[in-house]
């Protein structure tokens, strides 16, 4: 009988070198972007990296634990608002206020999840949406945060990042890069650890995972809270970049959940590569179709439906099934 080893391959087999080289090249290229990209391109990259972080988090939640949320805008908005509140009223330095806002978002996700977990499947999805709406309507009730019309980040706060505009743009870019990369590599590290075994087992069969001793509810809950915190951190960054926050922008279901879902589904749900591919495609398509307005959104919706009808594994999932490619290997094999 073959022994099941939980080790990942120690020695790169022939052909395993290529993925590592591709990843390394991409990271170097991205890290050098301030020196090769123009200002507009840099802004686009920042946005894409933020969306990559959101997509990795939604994918971890929906693709691995099966918790399909359409209410992640709750945590983007909450992260943004808490960050603004901390930066404006507590005087915490920017780079402390951001993680503090993320932590607080994670803490709020505990009672929110406790309520949402009473619903299952598609009802969980709509329940998370209700929670996001409660946050949006509540945010409008705080006069200190500008009520329904929102609030701007004082110039002095933004200045604290760097005095010069070039310096600020550089700092912002590396924050975005940090978010995108840490979300991607964080999920990868998580899936390669013991936790990843549990998550993969839950993805493949919740009942079977339960039967071999995984507390699926606990794992799902921790992932829900963890992704909420990271989503909150991304929200804090997104609104630092925008310098202004309003309830409608902060808790927008289209911007922070619909687009993210389309990215993950088109790229390939339940894979780490999927959100990467999806983000690239999403922004490439947006560059082409920027002037189409609502037709662009209809096209996105149609593509997502088509993916579900043709091959619900998405682009990377289908490619992987045919070729066995893996940029971020997480699979364990019998030897």
């Amino acid at each position: 009988m073959a022994s099941l080893t939980t080790d990942l391959p120690r020695r790169p087999a022939p052909g395993r070198f290529l993925p590592a080289a591709v990843i390394a090249a991409a990271v170097v290229l991205l890290a050098a972007a301030p020196w090769w990209a123009g200002r507009a391109d840099l802004r686009l990259l920042m946005e894409a990296l933020s969306y990559l972080a959101l997509a990795q988090m939604w994918n971890l939640l929906a693709g691995y634990t099966g918790l399909v949320s359409v209410g992640q805008q709750a945590f983007v908005g909450l992260g943004g608002y808490l960050f603004f509140a901390l930066a404006i009223f507590s005087g915490l330095p920017l780079l402390v206020a951001m993680p503090a806002a993320a932590l607080a978002t994670g803490l709020v996700a505990i009672p929110a999840g406790w309520i949402a977990f009473r619903l299952q499947g598609a009802y969980f999805a709509i329940g998370t949406w209700v929670i996001a709406e409660v946050f949006r309507l509540s945010a409008a009730q705080f006069p200190a945060l500008g009520g329904g019309s929102g609030i701007s980040l004082p110039v002095a706060v933004a200045r604290s990042l760097s005095e010069s505009r070039e310096g600020r743009e550089m700092a912002m870019y590396f924050l975005a890069l940090g978010l995108g990369l840490s979300a991607t590599f964080g999920v990868w590290a998580l899936l390669r650890a013991r936790w990843g075994m549990a998550l993969t087992a839950i993805r493949d069969s919740g009942t079977a995972a339960e039967s071999i001793g995984i507390s699926t509810r606990r794992v799902k809950f921790l992932i829900y809270v963890g992704t909420a915190a990271m989503t909150g951190l991304t929200g804090a960054f997104l609104f630092l970049q925008k310098l202004r926050i309003t309830p409608d922008a902060a808790f927008s279901v289209n911007d922070w959940t619909a687009f993210v879902i389309f990215i993950v589904v088109i790229g390939g749900i339940g894979t780490i590569e999927g959100p990467v591919i999806g983000t690239i495609l999403f922004f490439a398509l947006r560059q082409v179709a920027a002037d189409w307005g609502s037709w662009y959104l209809m096209l996105l919706g149609a593509i997502a439906i088509a993916v579900m009808l043709v091959d619900k594994r998405g682009i990377w999932g289908a490619l992987k099934a045919r070729t066995g490619w893996a940029l971020f290997p997480v699979e364990r094999r019998l030897r």
Binding site: A62, G121, A122, L137, L297, M298, A304
Partner: protein
């Protein structure tokens, strides 16, 4: 007296929410399918009613059956051609397909009708009311809306428990895998269920159009109200859905009485409270 008035208005508003919820509840009951675009379908029906009655000037007596029939036919075909293909154990495809539909419908409506909010004029009915003394007046329109909700729910109950079609729908609800063994055709039964639900959506859309201003983005909030009414009442019991709608309606009108900005939030909070206290709803009959 303002409070009594708020509660009465809330109860009547609950009828509209029950109409929103009945279709959602029916589809979930028969095929465990939750349509994220449900609210957008209601708004589509509202625009359809507006187009037929105002733009084409067709009499309501003809227009109402036309809207309901068009919605029912569209629902049947949509289920047969699209939604049946994504039904299954995996919950993701139906959620995503209907989520995609929701985005498509909202933007198609935006392209066709612009973002301006509109309303279906109901003529003299709009201001007619019954005075119950002591400053309490009940509008004829809300009352008729509530009566419609009761009529629709009673009609659905009748179909479910007194007709061969209802027997088939209930059998499918109990065990969809066994029904084909008895000669049933799941694809057809599912499509009938969606057709029936869409007919109710048509009725709900007409009432939405008369009751409030609406715009292409009005759908998602209606989905949330429908969903809340279903969960408050308890899954699988259609009269409980009416009760759920009434509780939601009263929460909203009483909330609005406290503070105008508190209306929708109060409804959501009461929903969450009930979810905490009694996750199965007030009168459950089956588990989700």
């Amino acid at each position: 007296m303002v409070w009594v008035n708020a509660i009465i208005q809330g109860v009547l508003l609950g009828g509209l929410y029950a109409l929103f919820a009945a279709g959602l509840s029916l589809m979930f009951g028969v095929m465990r399918f939750v349509n994220i675009a449900h609210g957008d379908f209601i708004v589509v029906a509202a625009y359809l009613a507006l187009t037929v009655m105002v733009s084409l000037g067709i009499s309501p007596w003809v227009a109402v059956p036309v809207v309901v029939a068009v919605m029912a036919a569209t629902g049947y075909l949509g289920q047969r051609l699209l939604l049946n293909r994504v039904l299954g154990k995996d919950i993701l495809p139906p959620i995503l397909v209907t989520f995609g539909l929701s985005i498509i419908l909202q933007n198609a409506l935006l392209e066709t009708f612009s973002a301006d909010s509109v309303r279906l004029p109901a003529g003299a009915l709009e201001t007619a009311s019954l005075t119950l003394g002591d400053g309490i007046a009940i509008g004829i329109l809300p009352l008729a809306m509530f009566a419609t909700a009761i009529g629709v729910i009673a009609g659905l109950q009748l179909i479910f428990y007194r007709t061969p079609l209802g027997r088939m729908l209930r059998a499918t609800s109990d065990d969809a895998e066994i029904v084909p063994l008895m000669g049933g055709n799941n694809a057809h039964i599912f499509a009938i269920a969606t057709g029936l639900a869409s007919a109710v959506v048509g009725v709900a859309g007409i009432w939405l159009a008369m009751r409030t201003n609406f715009d292409p983005a009005a759908g998602p909030v209606r989905l949330l109200f429908a969903f809340e009414a279903v969960i408050i009442g308890g899954l699988g019991n259609i009269w409980a859905t009416l009760a759920g709608g009434i509780i939601l309606g009263v929460a909203q009108t009483v909330g609005a009485q406290i503070d105008a900005g508190f209306q929708i939030l109060a409804g959501h909070l009461v929903f969450l409270l009930i979810l905490i206290v009694k996750p199965t709803g007030l009168m459950p009959r089956m588990t989700g």
